[in-house]
Amino acid sequence: MRITVNGESSQIAAEKLAAALDELGYGAARVATAVNGEFVPAAMRADHALCEGDRLEILAPRQGG
């Protein structure tokens, strides 16, 4: 299915969020995720089903003020 990952269109085969992260190359990276603007905790990624057109945000710790 085609989803948007951090603002970029992406084609994925995975149907669940955890599998999608692996497929997209995030592996064991320290990231937090949101789908369509809603936070999805790490513990729920394995069960969270993705849908065509979903907007996935993948964030990591960064510098801030």
Partner: protein
């Protein structure tokens, strides 16, 4: 030293981690100033990226971290960002920013109250970035905030305490509430002034990171904060309009 949500921090200097010439200079600024809190953010990660490296560096500073919701313009964005930050950084502290205007970066007081209420109910310890409005302060306390962070001036301007009267009034209105001057400070004298007014801490980033010698400037801020804190505790004199000689008049010779 300031106590935020039951945690005593080592210094009234809360320092940002952005815009430094290098990670090493950032670390030096923290070490030389003894800053008590490090502010951080969450941003998009590229596949194969190494956000973990930044996190390891921050952990190495050995100070509590305060993640922010910088750049969020809506309640929904801020709440989602706060949840993502809580998971990433393992803290329920959140510097809540709900920006109301693109140019001034002025906080949106209405969105701020709503987001603060949602996050406080969800167990977050909220540090709201706010204007110096006393009514807003009261509403944020009602929402569950136990720390307030009024701005000195708009973010990144370095203009110091823009509204002295308003800040003094806010401080007097809520004497027992820990308050941090957040944003707009440019020089250590601004930080000293904040402490002289009775504020508990300052939060700044650009003034240190964009100085020619960030670590030296960070130390300057730390010393100014200590000077201001001592002055506040020393019960400063009241200013007056008329001159008054400090040298005794009694015993003055008649030499004309």
């Amino acid at each position: 030293m300031p106590v935020f949500y039951g945690v005593e921090i080592a210094s009234p200097l809360m320092l940002g981690t952005a815009q430094y010439p290098s990670p090493a200079i950032m670390a030096e600024a923290f070490h030389r100033s003894g800053a008590g809190v490090a502010t951080v953010s969450v941003r998009r990660e590229a596949a194969g990226g190494d956000g973990g490296a930044f996190w390891d560096m921050i952990e190495g500073l050995g100070v509590p971290v305060l993640p922010n919701t910088a750049g969020c313009h809506s309640v929904r964005e801020a709440v989602t960002t706060a949840h993502m930050a809580r998971e990433l950084f393992g803290t329920d502290w959140i510097k809540l920013e709900v920006i109301g205007h693109e140019d001034t970066l002025q906080p949106d007081p209405f969105g701020l109250i709503e987001a603060a209420r949602i996050l406080c109910e969800d167990g977050f310890r909220v540090f709201p970035y706010m204007t110096e409005d006393g009514i807003l302060a009261g509403r944020l306390l009602e929402a569950g905030c136990e720390v307030l962070m009024p701005w000195g001036a708009p973010i990144g301007t370095g203009r110091g305490l823009n509204n002295l009267y308003g800040l003094r009034t806010l401080r007097a209105q809520f004497p027992g509430v820990p308050m941090v001057i957040d944003a707009g400070l440019g020089m250590p004298s601004h930080a000293a002034q904040a402490m002289e007014l009775g504020f508990d801490a300052v939060l700044l980033n650009t003034a240190v990171a964009k100085a020619g010698a960030p670590a030296a400037m960070a130390e300057g801020f730390a010393r100014a904060l200590e000077a201001g804190r001592l002055a506040h505790e020393a019960d400063p004199m009241e200013p007056r309009d008329m001159a008054a000689p400090s040298t005794p008049v009694l015993g003055l010779a008649e030499l004309e």
